[in-house]
Amino acid sequence: MAESNVMLLGTWASPFVLRVKIALRLKSVNYEYHEENLPESKSDLLLKSNPVYKKVPVLIHGHNPICESLIIVEYIDEVWTTSASSILPSDAYERAQSRFWAAYVEDKFSTALRRVLFGTTEEDKRAAMAEVSEGILLLEEAFVKLSKGRAFFGGENIGFVDIVFGSLLAWIEVIEKLSEMKLISEAKTPRLVQWADFFSAHEAVKDVSPAVDKLVEFALKLGARVLKATAPTN
C-alpha cells in the first residue's frame, strides 16, 4: 500500500474529527495528528488549508487539503481501497441509503444535540431534547433496516452510518450524565444499545474515543447546561 504524507488537523473533543480518526484506523493509514488550540488560536496551516470555514477536521494528503468530515471519510474510502474494509456499500442504492442517514445525523441530529447542551433558552433545550429522542427512535428503525440482522449499520463491518453516528456516542453519554436520563435505552431502542457497545469496543474506535468524564468537564467549562429529566419515563 502506498505510504503517503497524511496529516490530520483536529481537536480532541470533536466528534467530527473522531470520524476521520476512525476511518483512518479502519484503513490502517499512518498519519500525523496535530491538535489545534481552538477557538483561542488557529494555526497558519489550518487557515491555509481551510480558508472557507477555518474549522477542523482537515485532512492533508500530500499537499491536498480535504475539509468537512463526511467528505473526508468518503475520500479516505476511495483512496485506500481494500475490499475488507469498505466504508460505503458497493451497491448504488445502498450507498444512497447510507448517505441519506449520514446526512440526517449530520444535519438534523447533531444540531439538536448541540442545542440540548448549549441552547439559549429552556424552551429551545426542551424542543431539542424532544428532537433528539425522536431522532434516536428513527435511527433504531434505520438500524433494523440497514443492518439486516448484523452488528452494524454497515452490516458485518463498520460502515459510513456507524462512523457518522457512532462518533456522537460519547457526547450522547455526556447528555445522559448531565440530564440523568437515558437517551439510548433498553426499553425503547434495544438494537442501538447493543450496537453502541459493539461500536465502542471496536478496534478502530476504542483507542481514539475521548473519555466521557473529560468531555463532561469540557462541556461544563464551555457553559453547557442540560435540563434534568422531567419528561415521562423511558
Partner: protein
Amino acid sequence: MAEEVVLLDFRPSPFGMRSRIALAEKGIKYEYKEEDLRNKSALLLQMNPVHKKIPVLIHNGKPVCESLIQVQYIDEVWHDKAPLLPSDPYQKATARFWADYVDKKIYDLGSRVWKTKGEEQATAKKEFIETLKLMEKELGDKPYFGGESLGYVDVAFIPFYSWFYAYEKCGNFSIEAECPKLIAWAKRCMQKESVAKSLPDQQKVYDFILEMKKRFGIE
C-alpha cells in the same frame, strides 16, 4: 430491463431542478409528478417519511431522497453517459465540498434576502454577494465548475440562477454588477438543453415569491 423512474417535485424548487438536470444530462426518461406542498400526496409521505420533502426520486419503486444524494445516485447508476463527478478522489472531494457549500449558504442567504427588509436584508445581501464572489473565485477561468463540461457543482448551483431575478427585485440590487463572471457562467449553462428545460422562467419564480410573501404577510 424496463427502468421505472419517477420524480416527485415542485417546479420552483432549486433542489428539484438539480435532479431534473441530472436526469436530462443522462437522457433518462422519467415521470414527473408535481406536488402541491400544502397538500402533500400519500406517495410523497410514504416515500419520504423522515423529511416529507421534495424532490424524491423513485427508481423501480425504491425512493432516494435529498437532491445531492439523488444526483450522485443518478451519476453512479447511469455512469456511461455525461459523468457529473470526476473519477479522481481529490477532485471528487473538491466537487462535493463546493456543492455542500452551495447547500449551506446559497438557499438560506437567498431566502433571507427576499424574506426580510431593512438592516436584516442589507446584511443578507452583503453575505449573499460574498458567497457568490467566492463561487466566482472557485470557477476561475474554467467554462464550468466541472471543467470543460457541466459537472456536479454546476448542477448543484445553476438552479439558483432561476431565482436571481426574484432576489434582485426583492433586494433591489444587481447580481450581474457584482458578479459578471458568474452570470456569464450561468448563461453558458442555460445554453444546454438539460438546464434550460429544467429551470423555470425567472419571472415565474418572482411571481411565486410574491405569492409567498403575500401568504406569509411579508411586505
